[in-house]
């Protein structure tokens, strides 16, 4: 893709030649208007080519975001006690829906916020461990490998709504889970065990996702690296820490990022497995849905906006903190930080972005 910088003033493409020495054109100060015109033209083409993408993004991302934000500034329609009818319009309350989370009514929000964070950290952590282990197994060459690969992917292929119901049976009062542990835990009641039930079901379901992406990363690691390591006398553990993990890291980070964003939006699994309005497992998405279903669109939109910001910040943090590694460090010795940054702005690294 091209760097689409359109120098100001050149859009008309006038042959009068004044565009010549513009600051926006450091590469060709003396070549004159023809070069500038060519750049502007290609810039226009580029803008034209990306405009459908931008348009789609505006329609599916920007517009709903702005509408949701606008809605979050409105309160709940009031009831006229005399007529018994709900008023026609929603009152404008400014930022009250947001400030409310710091008041007494905010308890439920913060509970949902901590639940969401807890689920994200715990499930993604466990999924990463198990997913990497799965990928290592799937990557090994042995008879029946295709079968193992397929079977590991099954949980991911099952729709969450269905797996929620399946796990509901497993965690039933006289279900398999209780038969296995030998005494009765009422998993779907309020309490920490409900969180555990959700974590187990979620990890079971989405570890294959990480496994799949890591497997893709593993498959592009050249065999020679391992041969060289073996000749140098590195054991399996050393090979894993020194070769596999660093080389598979870009793929792993993308997988973890995606899983984090997904986990922050978690809704269907706790909703189906444990039930709506159970404080122990209520996530932000569930809270927003609950408010909306009680015809309180203002607070619902406010919660959704806050969740959006939370997701956005986590994603931004990922890209900022790990972004350099995400793109730069594959397949070679570590470079000094300054050079890495320099590389990022200049050299193409298409060969290295294998994930």
């Amino acid at each position: 893709m091209v760097d689409t910088k359109i120098p100001p003033g050149t859009a008309a493409g006038g042959p009068t030649g004044t565009a010549g020495g513009r600051a926006g054109e450091p590469t060709a100060p003396v070549q004159g208007s023809r070069r500038a015109w060519a750049t502007a033209a290609s810039g226009r083409t580029a803008a034209l080519l990306v405009s459908p993408t931008l348009l789609v993004l505006t329609v599916v991302v920007l517009y709903p975001t702005i509408m949701a934000f606008k809605e979050s500034l409105y309160g709940t329609k009031g009831l006229d006690p005399k007529t018994g009818f709900i008023s026609d319009t929603e009152p404008f309350v400014g930022l009250q829906n947001y400030t409310d989370i710091f008041g007494q009514a905010g308890d439920r929000f913060w509970n949902a916020f901590w639940n969401t964070s807890f689920f994200t950290v715990v499930t993604v952590g466990l999924e990463t461990l198990i997913g990497v282990a799965m990928a290592l197994i799937m990557h090994k060459a042995f008879s029946g490998r295709a079968l193992v690969r397929a079977s590991i992917l099954i949980p991911w292929a099952v729709p969450t709504a269905i797996s929620g119901l399946l796990w509901r049976w497993i965690f039933n009062s006289d279900g398999i889970a209780n038969a296995l542990i030998g005494h009765q835990v009422l998993w779907t009641t309020e309490g920490f065990h409900a969180k555990i039930a959700v974590v187990i079901a979620e990890v079971w379901k989405t570890s294959p996702f990480i496994g799949l992406l890591v497997l893709a990363g593993l498959q592009v690691i050249p065999k020679e690296v391992y041969e060289a390591a073996r000749i140098d006398g590195a054991g399996p553990l050393a090979q894993f820490w020194r070769i596999t993990l660093p080389l598979v890291k870009p793929a792993l980070l993308v997988a973890v990022l995606f899983r984090c964003l997904d986990a922050l939006r978690m809704f269907d699994l706790p909703y189906l497995l444990i039930g709506a309005q159970k404080n122990s497992v209520e996530t932000l998405s569930m809270l927003a849905q609950n408010e909306a279903s009680n015809v309180r669109f203002g607070p619902a939109a406010a919660y959704a906006v806050l969740l959006f910001l939370y997701v956005f910040l986590v994603a931004l943090g990922f890209v900022r903190l790990l972004g350099a590694d995400l793109i730069g460090d594959v397949g070679g010795p570590r470079r000094p930080k300054g050079r890495t940054r320099l590389r990022r702005t200049s050299a193409p690294s298409s060969a290295e972005v294998s994930a």
Partner: protein
């Protein structure tokens, strides 16, 4: 792909992912409904209309609509099937109303939605004189009213009944079903001395934290002489009578009359426990009857009205009412269709073909029907004694407050007194909105 563009791509991927979170809410944003007449509006216009209701697996709804369509070829009714889940039905109907769409003409409302839909003016007030309400069971008609005006017409009803193991009771020397909670507990302890009753529990209802808990809590409170909301719709649940009702459930959990796992029971779990012979008494809806007749307790059980504190208890009411969407066209046709759909003939078809309890009193005494459904006389008593669940505009909030506090009391997280006190203040808060 160079480094910067892939970063841009990542960022936009993040944006898309995050943006999707918001789309669900924004679709319903910025709504306002224009004021329409507050009195029964003129029902004008004839032509095709729609009937929006839950997916009907028995096929009887389509059959009834077909017979209407045959008589009225120019005013055909189309059956719009909504999801089977009640919350989704409500959601779709609200969305339809908020966008003022005329896609749904006649709505099939759960009995607890009437106040909310009427207060939002999503449904029209109906001319009460044009419907045979006096032939219907009184409590069912009450569910169709908001502030004493008729906004819907009962199409089907439902009431809770007590299933009991008549074989075991007989063996223990008990001739009649219990009418009070104390009798029920006494009967149960007698039954449990029998060798066949080894490992059985006494009683269960629906105590999972969902709408069923609201129903069971309301029944316990009403059966002890308490109320949740008074005649004027004001919350009045922090009373000694209500406490006795809640204490029945709390104590039963404590002393094991209700098994510990019943806190996870919805209708189906309770039915299965009863059918596999783990329960002596079960509070459930009439639909269980025909299913239990096919199970291993077939012929070993009977039904009775719900017991109460000092005599017969009061059931909550289930069932559906039909209402007319304010934003619909062809309202004259709609009104005629509603009369047809809620007529005694139609109700009898529903009862015969799909075992849907009818709002008409006469059908419960029909010998042919009683032969088909032996529980009908008990159900009639149940519905006649029934108290509708709280009729408040913010029913969803009221119900979740009830679930929250009742659940806390049942699991022992709160004392019943504290739970009722908190419930009272929650209900007041939601009523003040």
């Amino acid at each position: 792909m160079n480094a910067r563009t892939s970063r841009v791509l990542q960022c936009s991927a993040v944006l898309v992912a995050a943006g999707l979170v918001l789309t669900a809410c924004s679709s319903s944003g910025g709504s306002s409904s224009s004021g329409q007449s507050k009195s029964p509006s003129a029902f004008s216009g004839r032509g095709p209309i729609t009937y929006a209701a839950a997916k009907d697996s028995s096929g009887v709804v389509q059959k009834v609509i077909d017979s209407w369509n045959k008589l009225h070829p120019k005013e055909k009714v189309t059956f719009v099937q909504l999801p089977a889940d009640v919350n989704q039905q409500r959601q779709q109907m609200i969305q339809n109303a908020e966008t003022k769409s005329d896609a749904y003409t006649v709505l099939s409302l759960d009995v607890v939605w009437t106040s909310e839909f009427a207060a939002h003016q999503w449904i029209d007030q109906l001319p009460a004189a044009q419907f045979p309400l006096d032939k219907m069971l009184k409590p069912t008609v009450e569910t169709a009213k908001y502030r004493d005006n008729l906004y819907a017409v009962p199409a089907s009803s439902d009431g809770g009944v007590l299933y009991y193991r008549s074989d075991l009771l007989k063996k223990a020397g008990i001739s009649a079903a219990p009418t009070t909670w104390a009798e029920m507990k006494a009967d149960c302890s007698k039954v449990k001395k029998l060798p066949e009753a080894k490992g059985m529990s006494c009683y269960a209802g629906q105590f999972e934290k969902y709408e069923g808990l609201t129903v069971n809590f309301a029944e316990a409170v009403n059966s002890a002489g308490g109320v949740i909301t008074d005649a004027g719709g004001k919350p009045d649940v922090d009373t000694p009578a209500a406490k006795k009702g809640l204490d029945f459930l709390v104590d039963s959990f404590k002393d094991g009359t209700i098994p510990k796992e019943a806190i996870t029971y919805q209708e189906e779990e309770g039915r299965q426990a009863f059918q596999s012979g783990n329960l002596v008494f079960l509070r459930n809806w009439p639909y269980v009857y025909s299913l239990a007749e096919k199970s291993k307790v077939a012929g070993k059980f009977a039904v009775a009205p719900l017991p109460g504190l000092n005599g017969a208890g009061s059931s909550s009411l289930g069932g559906h009412n039909v209402a007319l969407s304010s934003f619909a066209k062809n309202k004259a046709t709609a009104l005629d269709f509603m009369k047809f759909f809620t007529s005694q003939d139609t109700a009898s078809t529903f009862l015969k073909d799909a075992s849907m309890a009818a709002p008409y009193e006469a059908l419960y005494d029909d010998q042919a029907l009683v032969k088909q459904y032996p529980y009908l006389p008990v159900l009639k008593k149940s519905i006649l004694n029934a108290v509708p669940r709280p009729r408040v505009v913010q029913y969803g909030d009221a119900s979740s407050a009830i679930q929250q506090e009742a659940y806390a009391a049942l699991t022992g997280a709160k004392s019943s007194a504290q739970a009722l006190k908190d419930l009272q203040s929650e209900l007041q808060k939601s009523a003040a909105q």
